[in-house]
């Protein structure tokens, strides 16, 4: 949320690739963000803050959480607890061959919690990630580098116009590795943890170190490196794409092989960090652990990496922790409802071998999960659970009405000939028939809503973002409908819930592997079960049948009991519901 205030630069990536993969990226002032966030937390009513290192979970009688215990022996009590350990849990940072316990450069690791969680029966494992060096921005010569400015027309994460405050943007720059860079790395491969062989934890494939890139893609002569400022008031420059496990003494010479950085001074070396996480099959999709009622895991503890991934889990675990305390049912976002749903579904069903990062290709139905329709997908849900106040709800409803009205208008307004038709023929290369609706014009290739504005056929009441919504809905209607149909056909079967107490080991009709994997993951729906690695379609079939059979057995039994009770209490006959109304 705060990205709206503190941005340094914003760009919409992938604009030409289609509406589903357009992604707004903001570079944020890290110092300003931290300050703002602190201010918000400190000024939130009814929120009290205590800082301490948590080392254990306090359990109640029914395997429910009762609170936490800190390093200095204090107990804090709560009906819900969210663990967000980041990279701190038994964190260890590496520069070259040297390591020290730490969660981040300059911040100490959290010790003891892992062991105590293990005692509670949780499985833990280790992951690795890294961060590149920071360079003093004042020592970099940007003159020969390709500037990467922000978008002239800024897009927003929030749909609330009150927080859409424009500010001056900062520029990023692009540089590239050189022959000398490659040579230097090749000569010193034995000094890196991976090729020297002293670190085995798995790093992310989408975020390879520079030595990985050079070894694996030998024929590529040069790799892009982005230089990104970290804040308006700090001199740190982030060297994106240049993370390395080389020892510190080699890092400065390596940086200085990059054009523009010949005379740079390094503020902080690149380092790798290893940390404990808890494979997320131990959580249900509400992010509450399956073992302990009221205990939630969120963020890197579940094996993800990245701010967006953390934020996505944060909102769900936060909502659910609050609902759990209130005794309300927990919420779950279905996989196809949102990227948040996709992320959590992936986390709790799939075997993670590397830190998980959200990518557009992870969603099977991404055309339905666009940023422009995020509000029409999720705001009603937010309203339902009390997160959207009346003001936001009215904003939302008014916007939807405007969009709907505009779509109707485009269907009814017809044009014959004229400047607009000529312009459209020119842009699309297709003829315009007489009395064409505006809708049909918008569906033609390369035609955008701006053409209507240009010739006075646009609707001035609509904001730019709303016009974009209309354009996408109209232009890609056929594709959207097709995906929707595909999705619904699939969802019909996939959403069938699985009882929580299934004894998979007793299901001899399932393959051995499926029995083991399903007992471990304990999926909540048939769809999830089918996505668990090692579970074949035949296993799912067998599972469906077992469930249906036991459902019927239970029903038959209930019916039998009901009939018996009817017979023994004949005087109450009229008030007893007939057997057919007895359902699950």
């Amino acid at each position: 949320m705060l990205k709206k205030y503190c941005y340094l630069q914003k760009r919409v990536l992938n604009t030409s690739r289609g509406p589903a993969v357009r992604a707004l990226r903001a570079q944020t002032d890290k110092r300003e963000y931290a300050m703002e966030m602190k201010k918000i937390v400190e000024s939130t009513p009814n929120l009290s803050i205590r800082e301490a290192m948590v080392i254990d979970i306090l359990l109640g009688k029914n395997d429910n959480v009762e609170g936490v215990c800190t390093f200095f022996g204090m107990n804090f009590y709560a009906p819900s607890v969210v663990l967000t350990t980041g990279t701190f849990m038994s964190g260890k940072i590496w520069v070259g061959r040297t390591s020290m316990p730490a969660g981040r450069a300059g911040e100490s690791a959290s010790e003891g919690l892992t062991e105590n969680l293990q005692c509670l029966g949780f499985d833990t494992d280790r992951l690795k990630t890294g961060t590149p060096a920071r360079v003093d921005i004042r020592t970099v010569d940007f003159t020969g580098l390709e500037p990467q400015p922000g978008d002239k027309e800024v897009h927003w994460f929030s749909f609330d116009p009150d927080v859409q405050i424009e500010r001056e943007q900062m520029c990023c720059y692009l540089t590239r590795t050189t022959k000398i860079t490659h040579q230097l790395i090749k000569e010193n491969l034995h000094e890196t943890p991976t090729y020297g062989g002293w670190v085995e934890a798995k790093g992310p494939r989408y975020c390879p170190s520079i030595e990985d890139k050079i070894v694996r893609f030998q024929d590529k002569e040069s790799h892009q490196i982005f230089l990104e400022p970290e804040g308006r008031s700090v001199p740190e420059l982030y060297v994106q794409g240049f993370s390395t496990g080389l020892p510190e003494r080699l890092q400065l010479p390596l940086l200085r092989t990059l054009p523009g950085l010949e005379n740079c001074s390094m503020l902080r070396p690149a380092y790798a960090v290893e940390y404990d996480f808890l494979p997320a099959y131990q959580c249900s999709r509400s992010l509450m652990t399956k073992k302990i009622d009221g205990l939630f895991f969120s963020g890197q503890i579940n094996g993800t990496t990245g701010y967006e991934e953390a934020a996505a889990q944060g909102i769900i675990s936060g909502i659910n922790a609050a609902r759990h305390s209130d005794g309300k049912p927990l919420i779950v976002l279905e996989r196809e409802s949102s990227y948040i749903g996709t992320l959590i579904d992936d986390l709790v069903t799939k075997d993670l071998r590397e830190p998980y990062r959200m990518l557009t290709s992870r969603s099977e139905h991404r055309l339905l999960l666009r940023s422009d329709n995020a509000d029409s997908r999720l705001t009603p849900l937010g309203r339902e659970i009390g997160l959207i106040d009346d003001r936001r709800w009215k904003l939302y409803e008014d916007k939807q009405t405007r969009i709907l009205e505009e779509k109707k208008r485009l269907k009814t307004v017809r044009i014959s000939g004229g400047d607009l038709a000529a312009d459209i023929t020119c842009v699309s290369g297709q003829p315009v028939r007489d009395s064409s609706t505006l809708e049909s014009l918008l569906k033609k290739p390369h035609v955008q809503y701006e053409v209507f504005d240009k010739h006075g056929f646009g609707n001035e009441q609509l904001s730019r973002a709303e016009k974009e919504c209309v354009e996408i809905d109209v232009k890609y209607e056929g594709f959207i409908k097709r995906q929707q149909i595909q999705l619904q056909q699939m969802a019909h079967q996939q959403h069938r819930p699985l009882p929580e107490d299934l004894d998979y080991h007793a299901m001899i009709t399932l393959s051995l592997e499926a029995r083991e994997k399903l007992s471990k993951v304990r999926p909540q729906t048939i769809g999830q079960a089918s996505r668990v690695g090692g579970v074949s379609p035949a296993d799912i079939t067998a599972l469906l049948i077992i469930i249906e059979a036991s459902r019927r057995k239970a029903q038959e039994q209930r019916r039998h009991e009901m009939l018996t009770s009817v017979m023994t209490e004949t005087d109450h006959e009229s008030s007893v519901p007939s057997p057919k109304t007895v359902t699950l």
Partner: protein
């Protein structure tokens, strides 16, 4: 997605009446009286949210509000309507066969293909409005509006049906051709081809079959699923499976290329459009070829009928005898010797062929010969290939022209496109050059062949010509190791359509992401043949193949 193959598996084991435990099979087909208590039970399975543990969790599955209007008929989309031939095919034709439709739009789809014929109306067809369990008489039309068959439609509306969904059964004529054409019409009208036994599965899932049946089914499936599924893929259809695998690999490679550029645009070399189009083209060709074998499969089962027609005394019967290496037909010098249809069986390129020798077509007063001539014409129109025979000795005569015109006009009025071959017989007696014949008959003939029935000369050419016309020559020598069944055929058609859409998306310069939609669809269609999932595979490929990531 992974679930569709599931049903295929379930049902491959369900629906084998012959191999089923005999005590079980009757239960699948009619409800025993003791099951009736279940009929009143609500369909819990059609409501995905009536969950067992929903008390504890609130499932939020947001639908895009902006498109809510579009999903007004939610139920229709959620459960598809399926169709299949439910009587046996492949054996000798029976008098009646049944195509069954089941699902929420069964009536709607049936009404699209079925037009009732009611005497009250003067002419033409009206829209079908069925009353449950009341039989209607009418015709089935294909999408071009041609009559495909005369049928009885039996509507059985939910829940009073075998599957508890709306069911429409179309009672057609019992030949395979009729049944397949009716089925195709239904599929073109929006039905999906049912997985084997899917009706039974639906009956089961909708609570129509009871517990003991379900438990029996469970046993059935458990014992066989893995082995049978493996055998089906690896053993019987090795060749086909490997082709599917290679097509799938190609799809995933393309997806990798494209999707990598969606997530890691700035680190990738530009996409080679020509190369991509080339790949799509070659995939389409592979699919086409595979589909052709579906044709071959049908030919293998039902064979070809070839009618030999012509004026009297041009040597039709001699041709039949020479071709079938028999003395099946009586041959004399007298014109009009053959009065009735004479059949002989041969094989052409391992395809069973029935040769039909017909009475020479001419104006005649002889009552018997007249009937023979009428039959000849009827046979000619019903055959798969017409061989028109003329005599080289007499040259092209006005009678030949008249006969050709008659056949062509009859063909036209029947809307048939049966290919014709011109056979110039008695070339041993021919005074003229062969080339003169080629222009005869205009473009009515697909091929010209010169034969001498007495010596057997040219018979091979004739077989070649027939092979070429029905597409047998495209089957590699030695035959195919595999054939495509109807379900696989349907998936291949789906893939073909997806590739066609993909090509048009590219040509219309749609943004890159849209290409992935149809490409995924194509890969999924293939996945339904081989039963695999794709998402993870694409990602691993992206990471393995390209240097990406910051």
């Amino acid at each position: 997605m992974a679930l569709l193959p599931v049903f295929r598996t379930i049902i491959t084991h369900f629906f084998k009446p012959k191999t089923l435990n005999p005590s079980l099979s009757p239960l699948f087909h009619e409800p025993a009286a003791k099951n009736l208590s279940f009929l009143s039970k609500p369909k819990t399975l059609s409501k995905p949210h009536s969950s067992l543990n929903s008390k504890a969790t609130l499932l939020l599955n947001g639908q895009d509000q902006r498109f809510m209007g579009l999903n007004g008929n939610d139920d229709k989309l959620i459960s598809t309507t399926i169709a299949a031939i439910v009587t046996s095919v492949g054996g000798p034709p029976s008098s009646v066969g049944i195509v069954r439709l089941s699902g929420p739009s069964a009536v709607e789809i049936a009404a699209r293909v079925f037009k009732p014929m009611r005497k009250k109306k003067k002419k033409g067809f009206c829209v079908w409005k069925p009353t449950s369990h009341v039989v209607d008489y009418g015709v089935v039309l294909d999408h071009q509006g041609n009559v495909v068959d005369e049928v009885l439609a039996v509507p059985m509306l939910a829940p009073r049906s075998y599957t508890r969904e709306d069911v429409v059964e179309l009672q057609c004529h019992g030949t395979e051709v009729c049944l397949r054409r009716v089925l195709r019409a239904c599929i073109e009208a929006g039905a999906r081809l049912a997985e084997p036994g899917e009706f039974t599965l639906r009956a089961f899932l909708n609570g129509r079959l009871d517990l003991s049946q379900a438990e029996n089914v469970e046993k059935l499936i458990s014992s066989k699923s893995t082995a049978a599924a493996d055998a089906a893929l690896a053993g019987i259809q090795g060749g086909f499976a490997s082709m599917v695998k290679s097509l799938r690999t190609q799809c995933i490679e393309l997806l990798t290329e494209i999707e990598a550029r969606l997530d890691f645009d700035d680190e990738m070399p530009p996409l080679d459009l020509n190369l991509i189009m080339e790949k799509i083209h070659s995939m389409s060709e592979d699919v086409e070829n595979a589909l052709k074998t579906a044709n071959y499969d049908k030919l293998l089962q039902s064979g070809l009928q070839i009618a030999i027609v012509g004026r009297p005394n041009v040597g039709k019967s001699s041709l039949l005898n020479a071709w079938s290496k028999s003395e099946r037909a009586i041959v004399t010098e007298i014109a009009g010797t053959t009065r009735d249809i004479v059949e002989a069986s041969i094989t052409v390129g391992s395809i069973p062929v029935i040769l039909l020798d017909t009475a020479g077509i001419r104006e005649t007063d002889d009552v018997v010969e007249k009937i023979g001539v009428e039959r000849s014409e009827a046979v000619a129109l019903g055959a798969d290939v017409i061989v028109m025979t003329v005599s080289a000795l007499d040259g092209w005569t006005p009678e030949d022209t008249g006969l050709l015109d008659r056949i062509v006009s009859k063909k036209k009025s029947a809307g048939s496109s049966t290919p014709m071959i011109l056979v110039v017989n008695k070339i041993d007696c021919s005074p003229s050059l062969c080339s003169e014949w080629v222009d005869r008959g205009g473009d009515s003939f697909s091929k010209h062949v010169f034969t001498c029935a007495i010596t057997g000369q040219g018979i091979q050419d004739l077989e070649m010509a027939i092979s070429e016309i029905v597409g047998l020559n495209k089957i590699p020598a030695g035959g195919l190791k595999w054939t495509v069944n109807q379900r696989q055929c349907e998936q291949l058609v789906r893939m073909k359509e997806a590739l066609a859409r993909l090509r048009s998306s590219i040509e219309e310069q749609m943004p890159l992401d849209f290409w992935t939609i149809d490409l995924r669809d194509a890969a999924l269609a293939l996945g339904q043949i081989s039963g695999e999932n794709i998402s993870e595979e694409i990602l691993s490929n992206i990471f393995g193949k390209f240097c990406i990531g910051k």
